[in-house]
Symmetry: C3
Subunit: 307 residues, 3 copies
C-alpha cells in the first residue's frame, strides 16, 4: 500500500499504514526470534547517505536490510563523499538512485530529506534532518508502546528532559496526538517544548506541563526520557543541577508503577542511571532492538517485497 | 577471454575485448531493468583499496558486485588503513589478495595501479591513479556513446573544459582514436590539452582545437564536459569568467542538434546548469547509471563468471 | 563445544578446543582452495566495533564472515560512532547485540573486550585491546606452525624484535608454553620481554634470552619477527642502529635451515627486507592468509554452524 512512497515525516504515514507497518513488524520480530533466515530482499540494495554520523541509526538500517537478505552501501561521513567536491544534494541522490533500490538519508539541515525525495523515483527514508523529523524513530517509539501495552490508547505518557531542542520528542508528541493519550511534559523551564508544537496538539489530546518529575512518578505508564545536551548550557553548574533533577535512578523508579516502562531514544549519557538497566521497567534496550524488525517491515512495504 | 587479467589502462583492453565487455554490459543492463536477481558472484569478494576518497566510483563498484550476488570489503580512506603504519603498497595488495577475489585500487600517485598488479595473481582494476588512467570511466564513456547512437564510428565529439588536468578526457581521447571520429577540443588557452596527448592521436583521427564553444554547438553529436577546478586558478576572477564561458545552460543547448547528447563524468559543479537536466540532450545521469552494468560485465569477465 | 562463548584471551580456549578450531580451519582452508561457496552463515551478521583502526584485522574478519555466506556491519573509527556522543562501551555493545549475531571488538584499553563480553549474551571476540590480548592472532600464529611442520611440539622458536611492547609475542609466548617447544628471545636489551611474562613460562618450557640474532640462525625452526616501533625511541640514531641489527635480509636467511620458516604478524616496516619475500623460508603472507580460514572456523564454532 505504501509501496514506492517516501517516508520523510511521520505525517506521510496514515493510521491504516501505521497498523500495516506494526503488523508486519510483529511478523518480522517473530522471524528474528525463530532465527529463520529471510531472503525477500535478495539482490536488492539499500543506500545510506549519512551527511552526519549516526552509528546507531545507520547500523539499524543496515542490520534490517541484511536480515532481509539484501545488501547495503553508502557513506557515513561527508569528508569521504563527493560532497567535498561541491556536489549538490540532488546529484548525490541521483547517484544513489543509480546504485540502489531504496535510499536512507541523514542530513544536518531540516528539509533535506524532502528535497532529496524530489530527485528520485526510488523510496527515500528520512533518518533525521536537523531539527526536522526522524520518522522511523517515532514509529519504533509508538511500536514499543503498542507492543508492551497491547495498545496506545489510554496510556499516560511523560516526556522528560530537553523538550526544546529534542527533535525526537517533537515528532513523538505530534504522532501521539493521533491516539487517545494523556501527556505530561516534564522539563526545566529553560528547555520547555516550543509553543508551536503545543498549539498543534493541545486541543486534541490532554497535555500538562511541569518542571517537577516527582509529580508524574506514581501515575505515568510510559516515561520517555531524552538527552539533555551539555553544549546547550553556557553555565555548566546549571547543567549539573538540571541533570541531577531529571535523571532517572533506582530511587525514582521505586516510586513508579510496576507496570510502567522507561524509554529513551539512545544514546543516553546521564539521564538514566545504569542501576536502572536491570529493573523490570527498563525498556530502552528493547526499544532499540525493535528498530530492526520495524525497519525490516518498512523496507519490505516500500519495496513491495510482500506482494 | 580477459579472465584473470588486470585492467590498469584502457590499452589493456583490445578492440574485440571491448566489444565483449559492451555486449555483456547490454545483457547486464537488461537484467537490471527486468529486476531479475543475479547470483553468479555468490561467495566472491571484491576489495576496494581507496587511498583517496571517490564515493561515486567506490559505490559504483560496490553496487556492481552486490548486483552480481557478491560482497565487498575495503577501506575508503588512508587514515583508517594499515598504510598509516608505514605498510608498502605491495604488502597491502598482498593482504587484499588473501581476503578477496578481485581488487579495485584508487591511488593519488600515477603508476600505483600497475605496480599493485605486479604483486598479486588476482585481477586488479585501476579506479584512477593520480594523473594516470581511470579505464572503467573511459569504458563507460564509450559505452554510453555506443548505446545512445548505436555506434561510435562517425560521431562528432566535443571535449569541453579543463583539458589540461582532466585525466578523464586524456584517457577518453586516446581511446576515441581507435574509432573513426572527429574530435573538437574546446578549452580556455590556459587549460589546453597537453601536446604529448595530441601527438599520439593527431595522425589517426581528425582533431580541432578552439576556445569558443559556440563554434561546435550546431555540429557536435556528443558534448563531453569536464569540471574546471577552482583550485587551479590563483586569480578567482579569471575562474569566474571562464566558468561563465564554458558552462552549458539551456540557452546553449537550444543551439545544439536535437539528437546531440551531453555527457559529464560527474560530480559537476558549475559546468552544466541544473536547468539542462530535464532537456532531452542531458545524458550524464544515464552515463553514470551505465557504470553499474559496465562494471558488472567487467567483473564477470575478469572472474570468469560466464564460463 | 565452544558455542556461544567469548574469546577474549587465548586462555579462553582449551587444548581440545584449539584442536577443534585447527581441524575446522583445515577444512575451511580446503573449501577456500576448491573455490566452493559456503552458505552456513546465510542471514547471520558479524558486527565489527573498532575503536581504533586495524584494517588488516577488520578485513580478515569481514572476509571470513562473507566467505561463510554471512554479512558484516560496524564502525572502524571512533569519530563516526555514537561514542563521540559519550555513550558507554556497555551501551554500544548492547546496540551491537541488537543488530548482529557475533561481535568483534578492538579497543585501545586493556580489559575492554572482557568488559564488553559481560554486557551481551552473544559471542564476543577480542581483536586486540591495548596491551592486552589478541587471541585470533595467536591462534593463527600457532595454526601456521602446526600447518607448516605437522605439529608444534619439538619446534625451536625464535621471537625477535620488540619483545617489551609487542602484545603479539606476549600472547604467543604464553600460548607456546602449552607445547613442548624451546624458545629463544632475541631483542635489544632495552626491548626485552617483561619479567612478569617470563616468570609465567620459564618453569614450563625452555627459554633463552639473547641480543645477538646470529646465535639462533642455524638452529631455529621458526623465526617470529615483530615490528620495532620508531616512536618508542627518543634517539632516532639508536632506532636506526637497532633496526639494522634485527632486520632479516637474504644474507641472514642464507644462514638459516632450509626448512626454517619466517613469520611476522604484519604490517612490517623494516624488520624483513622485501628481498626475503621470494625465499622459500618466507611464510608471513601465508600466515596472514590463514587468518581467514581460522576466523571462519572460529565464527562457525561460536555460532554453532556445524551443529
Amino acid at each position: 500500500m505504501i509501496k514506492s512512497r517516501c517516508i520523510v515525516s511521520i505525517d506521510d504515514v496514515s493510521d491504516s499504514e501505521m497498523n500495516e507497518i506494526f503488523d508486519l513488524t510483529d511478523r518480522m520480530n517473530e522471524s528474528l526470534e525463530s532465527g529463520k533466515s529471510i531472503t525477500t530482499m535478495k539482490g536488492k540494495i539499500l543506500a545510506t547517505l549519512f551527511y552526519e554520523p549516526s552509528t546507531r541509526t545507520r547500523l539499524s538500517f543496515e542490520s534490517a536490510m541484511q536480515r532481509l537478505g539484501g545488501s547495503t552501501l553508502g557513506f557515513s561521513d561527508v569528508k569521504s563523499s563527493s560532497v567535498s567536491k561541491g556536489e549538490t544534494l540532488a546529484d548525490t541522490v541521483r547517484m544513489a538512485e543509480s546504485y540502489s533500490d531504496i535510499i536512507v538519508i541523514r542530513h544536518p539541515l531540516e528539509g533535506s530529506a524532502r528535497l532529496a525525495s524530489r530527485f528520485t523515483a526510488k523510496p527515500v527514508i528520512n533518518a533525521g534532518d536537523g531539527s526536522g523529523q526522524h520518522p522511523t524513530q517515532t514509529l519504533l517509539d509508538l511500536y514499543t508502546m503498542k507492543k508492551e501495552f497491547g495498545k496506545i490508547d489510554g496510556l499516560k505518557i511523560a516526556l522528560i528532559g530537553d523538550l526544546k531542542y529534542g527533535r525526537t520528542v517533537h515528532s513523538l508528541l505530534l504522532a501521539l496526538s493521533r491516539f487517545k493519550v494523556q501527556v505530561t511534559l516534564v522539563s526545566p523551564p529553560s528547555l520547555r517544548i516550543p509553543q508551536h508544537i503545543i498549539s498543534k496538539v493541545k486541543d486534541i489530546i490532554k497535555i500538562e506541563e511541569t518542571d517537577v518529575i516527582s509529580h508524574v512518578l506514581p501515575e505515568a505508564d510510559v516515561f520517555y526520557a531524552t538527552r539533555i545536551q551539555k553544549e546547550r548550557f553556557t553555565d555548566q553548574n546549571e547543567y549539573q543541577s538540571l541533570i541531577g533533577s531529571y535523571s532517572i535512578d533506582s530511587e525514582l523508579v521505586s516510586q513508579m508503577k510496576e507496570t510502567a516502562i522507561i524509554m529513551h531514544p539512545l544514546p543516553r549519557v546521564d539521564e538514566i542511571n545504569p542501576s536502572v538497566d536491570a529493573l523490570p521497567q527498563a525498556r530502552y534496550f528493547k526499544q532499540a532492538y525493535y528498530g530492526v524488525p520495524l525497519r525490516m517491515a518498512l523496507i519490505t512495504l516500500l519495496l513491495g517485497g510482500e506482494n
